[in-house]
């Protein structure tokens, strides 16, 4: 065989064929190499017999057989390949890739740092298990892992020094606002402290997103990827949590069997360290398995969109039928916030998995039905509340919940309008995507306002 140059048309053809074969999950890169060697041997023999390289390539490919049939045979012989490939992903090529390995090392180091970081304040006399220090931990728990997670993406995406600097600044400001306001020395959280603890991660999640998108934050696709990432991370986190629960149950149970109390190990070490480390490990798993297995979030969305739509519709129908008013309890606004949040999640993950080019289908109709029914339910609740809001007075909790409700209402309301127009064919699906991803920072900004402005506004109460 003669030495071929990279611009050789034959090389280009082989390259194309190889790329095509590589997309088959059951055919591993080493197999592709073996098949390529065969193809080249065949081509060389045919060229030696007097054919032109072009003709030889065509015949050799034809003799190789239909790729579908071949990959089916490979799948039958290596059926395990269609399954695993999660943690083993780095070495499917037969040779360990050093990049994948160093990434694994970085992730586990960061997870370890997160686990150690949460115990670090103990050195300064702040004890996790003691009641009076609990507010400190609750206010600050985001800082034990979110900067590390952001750092991981900064490292992985190779972000510029400038972006890096801005992100560091954001975190520094967050640390400041979380801790600078006067706080009572007590083991219970004040209202604004609880709000800070709840809203800080939401505000900082934006920083994680900017690092995750790595320069693509300005694009719809970049933000959509981050939405996908967030959903998958949530699912992985829940799964890891389930495993962790089993581990904890066994730890306590086994030591109890020999009369040793292991509860303090679980409470002081296993639980806090595991909870934070799992964020890192979960994020890495989502990154590693990208494109290997179908994402779970859209699947769950598909399953639950219709049941939720039916539930809300039945709820509305019952409301009208019985003529009952919504019982304005303390937490009713928060309950409706959660409902809208859930609907938003369903909407986001349906959008993230949808082919933007596809025409409207039955599922889109169900989604719109869900959107509209949730909006109506929320407006009924808001109307009930508005009538008596003055009687309530403005507490920080109510203002925060009301603000969130309004933000969600605007988001979903406009989404529903865009969706209806899409169903009627007057605008393209990408408009909905753009609106939805463009709106995401609003949540973080509102959360930041709650963290920064609420404590002084409500007298640090």
């Amino acid at each position: 065989m003669t030495v071929t140059e990279s611009r050789d048309p034959l090389e280009a053809q082989i390259e194309q064929w190889r790329a095509y074969l590589r997309r088959r999950q059951a055919v591993h890169p080493v197999d592709v190499e073996e098949l390529e060697d065969h193809l080249r041997g065949q081509v060389a023999a045919l060229v030696a017999a007097g054919l032109s390289p072009d003709e030889a390539f065509l015949i050799a490919v034809k003799r190789m057989g239909a790729l579908d049939a071949i990959s089916n045979e490979f799948a039958r012989e290596h059926s395990e390949r269609l399954w695993k490939q999660l943690v083993v992903a780095p070495d499917i090529s037969g040779e360990p890739s050093s990049k994948a390995r160093s990434e694994m090392l970085v992730v586990f180091t960061l997870a370890l740092i997160a686990a150690v970081a949460v115990k670090l304040p103990t050195l300064f006399g702040l004890d996790f298990s003691e009641g009076e220090d609990l507010p400190f931990y609750i206010r600050n728990f985001s800082f034990f892992v979110l900067p590390l997670l952001t750092g991981y993406f900064v490292w992985k995406r190779g972000l510029s020094r400038r972006t890096w600097g801005w992100l560091a600044l954001a975190f520094a400001a967050a640390v400041l606002f979380a801790n600078v306001y006067p706080s009572e020395e007590s083991s219970t959280l004040s209202d604004t402290e609880a709000l800070t603890a709840l809203h800080l991660p939401i505000a900082l999640w934006l920083a994680v997103g900017i690092a995750y998108a790595g320069g693509r934050w300005g694009q719809t696709a970049g933000r959509m990827d981050f939405v996908r990432f967030s959903g998958e991370l949530f699912i992985y986190y829940v799964l890891i949590g389930l495993g962790g629960g089993v581990l904890i149950a066994f730890t306590i149970g086994m030591f109890a069997a020999i009369g040793v109390d292991a509860e303090w190990v679980v409470q002081d070490w296993l639980l806090p360290c595991g909870m934070l480390g799992a964020v890192m490990v979960g994020s890495w798993l989502v990154e590693a398995k990208q494109g290997v297995i179908e994402n779970m979030a859209p699947v769950l969305t598909r399953l639950f969109t219709a049941p939720f739509a039916v539930t809300i519709l039945v709820f509305l129908a019952t409301l009208v039928w019985t003529g009952r008013a919504i019982d304005i309890e303390r937490d009713v606004l928060i309950a409706f916030d959660l409902l809208l949040l859930l609907v938003l999640g369903l909407l986001l993950y349906s959008i993230s998995a949808r082919d933007p080019e596809a025409p409207p289908g039955a599922f889109d109709l169900v989604l719109v039905l869900l959107l509209i029914s949730a909006l109506i339910a929320d407006m009924v609740a808001l109307a009930n509340i508005a009538a008596r809001i003055s009687a309530f007075g403005f507490t920080p909790n109510r203002v925060a919940a009301l603000g969130e409700n309004v933000i969600l209402l605007v988001n979903l309301g406009w989404s529903a309008a865009l969706y209806l127009r899409f169903l009627r064919g007057t605008n393209s699906f990408s408009r909905i995507e753009r609106w939805q991803t463009g709106y995401l920072p609003v949540y973080s900004i509102w959360a930041a306002i709650v963290v920064i402005a609420f404590p002084p506004l409500f007298g640090y109460g």
């Binding site: 073996e34 041997g41 049939a69 045979e73």
Partner: protein, 123 residues
Amino acid sequence: MNINKDLVAASATPLILAIIAEGDTYGYAILKRVSELSGGELQWTDGMLYPVLHRLERQGYIEGNWGSSESGRRRKYYRITKQGQAQLTEQREQWQMVDTALRNIWLAMSLPAGSITPIPQKD
């Protein structure tokens, strides 16, 4: 001539094992040898050879090793194992049995009934 698919599949294992038993070899050379041996009549779909090779490797009859070809590219060579040798012997006996039986019946069909005694099965 088109050979029945099942027959091709059934004969593939002994053929491949025997060719590898002749000396270490690789995919393309195995197919060339098959074509040589059958006078070009036995044609496999090239790609299908590899899943079969991988199966034999998994079963422990052959082992694969990456070496390099004359042009310097990486190439996977196969060699027969002890277990493979035993398997080949066994398959050979089975095929010989089938072969003998078929020969006898072909012969019987071409001659008047009862005029020959069958070749005894050696066993």
